[in-house]
């Protein structure tokens, strides 16, 4: 876990365990509370919301429904924002959604080279690697090499389509449904779908 500061072996009382940046954030919070700008209870709710309520399980349900309901898949292709909203996933960083369907001919992969734009309502907050310089710098120039970092090797004849999220349009990759899942329930299918598969740095496969 990079950039978390370091632990001290010695103890100078409360606060000595906090890294310089943790102390800065703590100081800023106390100032903003003192000035009446933020309610600490609202901060707790914001954190809980993105730790426990809004995360990649939402996106997995979208994918599973797309796999089992052709009318929904068609709606996703035409108007992903509305189709996803019909499942209750709306809001910040998901205002304008586009669904990208992987096929045997094409593989889609999403990045934000300029910051770390990410579809929060369906995937939650992005993982560190998505926000890191290695991913942001390399995804557009050598996507196949980046995929290898994730253990994914694509056939040469499969086109890789990279999507750089430079505006407020947010992308959700709909991975290919694995063979051998005929008749599975949406719930069982959703459990197979990983966050990385919905970014395009993973594929969905059956458990070994």
């Amino acid at each position: 876990m990079p950039h978390d500061g370091h632990h001290h072996d010695h103890d100078h009382g409360e606060g000595s365990e906090l890294s310089p940046i943790a102390l800065r954030v703590k100081a800023l919070e106390s100032l903003l509370v003192e000035k009446g700008y933020v309610d600490p209870k609202a901060l707790d709710v914001l954190i809980d919301t993105y730790e426990t309520k809004i995360g990649p399980r939402n996106g997995a349900r979208v994918v599973a429904k797309a796999w089992t309901d052709p009318a929904f898949a068609d709606w996703l292709k035409r108007d992903a924002t509305a189709a996803i909203a019909s499942l209750g996933y709306t809001g910040r960083q998901g205002e304008h959604m586009v669904a990208l369907f992987n096929t045997p001919e094409t593989h889609n992969m999403v990045v934000c080279t300029l910051c770390s734009c990410y579809p929060w309502p369906v995937l939650g907050l992005p993982p560190v690697w998505y926000k890191s310089m290695p991913y942001r710098s390399r995804a557009v120039i050598e996507p196949r090499e980046v995929l290898k970092d994730f253990g994914v090797t694509l056939p040469d004849d499969r086109e890789v389509r990279v999507w750089d999220s430079t505006a407020e349009v947010r992308y959700l990759v709909i991975p290919e449904r694995p063979a051998g899942t005929g008749g599975w329930s949406e719930e069982k299918l959703a459990a197979l779908v990983t966050r990385n598969a919905m970014i395009g740095t993973g594929l969905v496969s059956l458990p070994a």
């Binding site: 876990m1 990079p2 978390d4 940046i21 943790a22 954030v25 703590k26 100081a27 919070e29 106390s30 100032l31 903003l32 000035k35 009446g36 700008y37 933020v38 309610d39 209870k41 609202a42 901060l43 707790d44 709710v45 914001l46 954190i47 919301t49 993105y50 730790e51 809004i54 995360g55 709306t90 809001g91 910040r92 304008h96 586009v98 080279t113 300029l114 910051c115 907050l125 993982p127 926000k131 890191s132 310089m133 290695p134 991913y135 710098s137 390399r138 995804a139 557009v140 996507p143 196949r144 970092d149 086109e159 890789v160 389509r161 990279v162 999507w163 750089d164 430079t166 505006a167 349009v169």
Partner: protein
């Protein structure tokens, strides 16, 4: 602004290292920082574009070697001062010494409705799009000193319009407090071989506003 944030195509950062079973936040301060930025965004009077611009003003060496939420911390400290919500001295001392601006903080009960409210960056304008799907366009060669969303690696490149998303708030204007100035937004497809000069048949898409594009 040609800052360190605009890193598409840079080399030398090494492999992508994904963490197994990664937590949403790696330390309590990251969670607090996330929440502070979100909560202040509701009341501070700045836009998301201004927020991004503030995070991009970090000195390049510092930007590259610091974590995502440290970018946010630097951005928030800057925005608070710019919008008259806190002084540099207050931020250093962590003590209020000048009167607060009157704002109504978001209460806990209002968080869920706020974060899930369907929003839109599309604005109706009295104009027709210059381009349609299938048109060939060239991105402008430009190096503005202010915030922009045309990455360096896609400047002066020929691509094809894939879709028009209607007119969206223009970050170049909105980030500077100059108004939303909505312009047509397009998804543009580029051949990776054109952009990088290699042989891969892959393609790259970006969402680009009309002022970034010219007919070709």
């Amino acid at each position: 602004m040609n800052g360190a944030h605009d890193c598409g195509g840079m080399m030398g950062f090494g492999p992508v290292r994904a963490e197994v079973n990664e937590p949403v936040f790696h330390a309590p301060w990251e969670a607090r920082m996330f929440a502070l930025m979100s909560a202040m965004g509701d009341v501070g009077g700045w836009t998301l574009d201004e927020d991004r611009a503030a995070c991009e003003t970090m000195e390049p060496g510092h930007y590259i070697t610091s974590s995502y939420y440290e970018h946010w911390l630097n951005g928030l400290e800057l925005l608070l001062q710019k919008h008259g919500l806190a002084t540099a001295e207050e931020i250093v001392s962590a003590r209020a010494s000048v009167p607060a601006r009157a704002v109504t903080p978001t209460v806990a009960e209002a968080i869920w409705p706020a974060v899930t409210a369907p929003g839109s960056y599309e604005r109706p304008i009295d104009a027709a799009p210059m381009f349609k799907a299938g048109d060939r366009v060239r991105t402008r060669q430009m190096n503005p000193v202010h915030h922009t969303r045309l990455p360096r690696y896609l400047r002066g490149q020929v691509g094809e319009i894939v879709a028009c998303h209607g007119a969206h708030v223009l970050p170049d204007s909105n980030s500077r407090g100059l108004g939303e100035d909505p312009r047509f937004l397009y998804t543009v497809r580029f051949k990776a071989s054109d952009v990088w000069g290699h042989a891969a048949r892959d393609v790259i898409h970006a969402d680009l506003w009309e002022p970034y594009l010219e007919a070709c």
